[in-house]
């Protein structure tokens, strides 16, 4: 946000913005995919596949509304199943967007300027996907508003001692604030789009969305104030959201859930999976739209390093879980851990260790971080690993608890898979529509990284 001399001292070989960029060139480059350049074929293919999956989602949800949650594999004892696995997975993915846009802003990490818009959109759509699962899992999704404290003729209120209601507040607040933050960030760029657009209709649409923004200095001053305040609010919010999600588990007394390490380890896991998803999306999009000079290898390298660091925190979490199961001396905890690693779902656990801990260690090697193909593959592996983690936590803890007579197994049905793949389609479809219709890179924030025209000596701001 502010002139920062430290930027000059970053001695990395590659600059944050490629050579030859002026203010106008940035506008041009970012606006081109939307206004002038024909949509690349890759866009149509990806969007087409995503759209098919959206249809799968609609079919799965329609059938669910007709028949109820019995079409899923959930049962007693495993009442949560895929719905909660997917919920936690999606919301975790969303967290990287807030981390990039808010926390890195407060920490003056200017490299975020190239990827924050993209990551914020990802947050928004991931939270939308996440929010659907608890609602679909309700059994009677059409009365979902009973989750909120709505005055009603029955005279009943939600139970505020339960983490499940905390979740309702945390996730809905998170969705609201993420949307506002994203929109506020878009306003100046929407004005740029308005002034760039040739067609009257397009100009009108962006004009309405930009609300008449004209870049007045007093407006900018208020704008920067609010932008910083929102970042300051979003930072503790994002930590609270995944902590509350982890409370859904750790407040319960089920062995494998009842643990104080859950909040920090969940937050780290969320950022881990979120950065993986940013890489999964950014690598193909930057190639498709030739944005290699704005989202540089240096950005990818930084993201890979954040993944490596958060991945190690997650590894520490797994280690501590095992250690405490043993050290507590609690027979149920010990059994749970043995069962998790060597029971009927043992292979999932070891697959998770492979995906989340073993393979990502390749990121220590600079050559791997510099190779977009390797990075892309590793990011997908981490996405899968983080999904497996939630599966392990939800299913292996529930399926064999205290009483052997109440043990059971969980097998996902085709409808479980259809709903899950369907939300991936919803997410990708929204993401690609966003890339097509709105500036995917924050124009005005990239301008701040450029050398000031007419000023000599200072290279980067």
């Amino acid at each position: 946000m502010h002139t920062d001399e430290r930027l000059i001292n970053v001695s990395s070989a590659e600059p944050l913005v490629g050579p030859g960029y002026s203010y106008a060139k940035v506008t041009e480059t970012v606006a081109a995919p939307i206004l002038t350049v024909p949509t690349p074929r890759g866009w149509f293919i990806t969007f087409g596949v995503a759209f098919l999956l959206v249809m799968v989602f609609l079919a799965a949800v329609t059938y669910l509304f007709m028949r109820g949650v019995g079409i899923w594999g959930v049962n007693i004892p495993i009442g949560w199943g895929f719905a909660i696995v997917n919920f936690v997975w999606w919301i975790g993915i969303g967290h990287a967007g807030t981390l990039i846009s808010a926390i890195l802003l407060l920490l003056h990490q200017h490299w975020r300027n190239a990827i924050n818009r993209f990551a914020e959109a990802m947050t928004l759509f991931a939270v939308a996907c996440a929010g659907m699962f608890p609602i679909l899992h309700l059994g009677r999704p059409w009365v979902f508003y009973w989750l909120f404290p709505v005055p009603n003729t029955m005279g009943v209120w939600p139970q505020f001692r339960s983490p499940l209601i905390w979740d309702v507040f945390a996730v809905s607040t998170y969705a609201t604030i993420s949307f506002l933050y994203w929109y506020v960030g878009l306003i100046p760029d929407l004005a740029s789009m308005r002034d760039k657009a040739k067609s009257v209709l397009v100009r009108r649409i962006y004009g309405i969305l930009a609300m008449g923004w004209r870049g007045a200095s007093r407006h900018w001053h208020r704008y920067e104030t609010v932008y910083l305040l929102l970042a300051g609010l979003a930072t503790p919010l994002v930590v609270s959201v995944h902590s509350v999600v982890s409370f859904d588990f750790s407040v319960g007394i089920v062995p494998g859930w009842h643990s104080t390490i859950f909040p920090p380890y969940f937050v780290a896991g969320a950022i881990y999976s979120g950065f993986a998803m940013v890489l999964t999306l950014a690598i193909p999009v930057r190639k498709m739209y030739h944005l290699e000079t704005l989202i540089t290898k240096r950005h990818l390298d930084y993201m890979a390093k954040v993944m490596l660091a958060t991945g190690l925190i997650v590894a520490y979490g797994y280690l501590m879980e095992s250690f405490y199961a043993w050290y507590s001396g609690n027979p149920y905890e010990r059994f749970m851990m043995m069962n998790r690693q060597f029971g009927p779902y043992g292979f999932v656990y070891w697959l998770l260790i492979l995906c989340n801990i073993a393979l990502p260690q390749l990121l220590w090697i600079p050559k791997v971080r510099a190779n977009t193909l390797y990075l892309f593959v590793i990011s997908i592996i981490v996405n899968i690993g983080m999904w497996l983690e939630r599966f392990v936590i939800v299913v292996t803890s529930l399926h064999r608890d205290f009483l052997p007579s109440s043990w059971g197994m969980y097998y996902p049905t085709i409808w479980d898979w259809a709903t899950f793949l369907g939300t991936i389609g919803v997410f990708l479809a929204l993401m690609f529509l966003f890339v097509r219709l709105l500036p995917m890179i924050s124009i005005f924030e990239i301008r701040q990284l450029l050398p000031v025209p007419g000023r000599n000596g200072s290279k980067a701001h």
């Binding site: 502010h2 002139t3 002026s22 203010y23 106008a24 506008t27 404290p149 005279g155 209120w157 939600p158 139970q159 505020f160 001692r161 209601i165 905390w166 507040f169 945390a170 607040t173 604030i177 506002l180 933050y181 929109y183 506020v184 100046p188 004005a191 740029s192 308005r194 002034d195 760039k196 004009g207 309405i208 609300m211 008449g212 923004w213 004209r214 870049g215 007045a216 200095s217 007093r218 407006h219 900018w220 001053h221 208020r222 704008y223 104030t225 609010v226 305040l229 929102l230 609010l233 979003a234 503790p236 919010l237 609270s240 005005f444 301008r447 701040q448 000031v452 025209p453 007419g454 000023r455």
Partner: protein
């Protein structure tokens, strides 16, 4: 209205206009330029508004839970006190952030007088690059010292890339 090519020139011009005694001065730029708002003596009360909204959110969040759980719908859950305040913290916190964040954005839009479908500056065709790569300074006709010819020659003296008259 005068056009400039860089944020530094705009800042300098704003300082000169301010020093010349003009008060109804506004600068337009495609990116925030540090120092201009300070030059114009502009301060904002937004942080205070957001703080108050946050406090209101906290009071509302806790108050709602207290009223529901201890007064309107008291339930004994495992012998816990009706006012189980530690359990009420997460929702109180979320309400704080929600109120503060929503208020911040609404206050930003209102205090910037947006949405504003019409503004005279857009009557200058050249102004369409104000959101791209050019910088503009206006001295408005409501300024007590305003005199069209004098303002024009003053703006010319700032060595701008161009001077334009803004139609109402």
């Amino acid at each position: 209205m005068a056009e400039f090519g860089s944020p530094d020139e705009l800042l300098k011009a704003t300082q000169q206009a301010s020093a010349a005694g003009y008060t109804r001065v506004e600068a337009y730029s495609p990116l925030p330029v540090e120092g201009i708002a300070e030059t114009l003596g502009f301060r904002t009360l937004l942080p205070l508004v957001v703080l108050i909204a946050g406090i209101c959110g906290a009071v509302f969040g806790f108050g709602m839970q207290y009223w529901i759980s201890a007064i309107d719908y008291p339930m004994n859950i495992g012998g816990r006190p009706l006012n189980s305040w530690p359990s009420f913290i997460p929702v109180t916190f979320e309400c704080t952030v929600l109120f503060a964040g929503v208020t911040a954005v609404i206050a930003l839009i209102i205090s910037n007088k947006l949405p504003q479908p019409y503004h005279p500056v857009f009557n200058v065709p050249r102004f369409s690059v104000a959101s791209d790569d050019r910088f503009f300074l206006t001295i408005e006709s409501t300024d007590p010292q305003f005199d069209l010819t004098k303002v024009k020659s003053f703006l010319q003296g700032l060595q701008p890339a161009g001077v334009f008259e803004v139609e109402e």
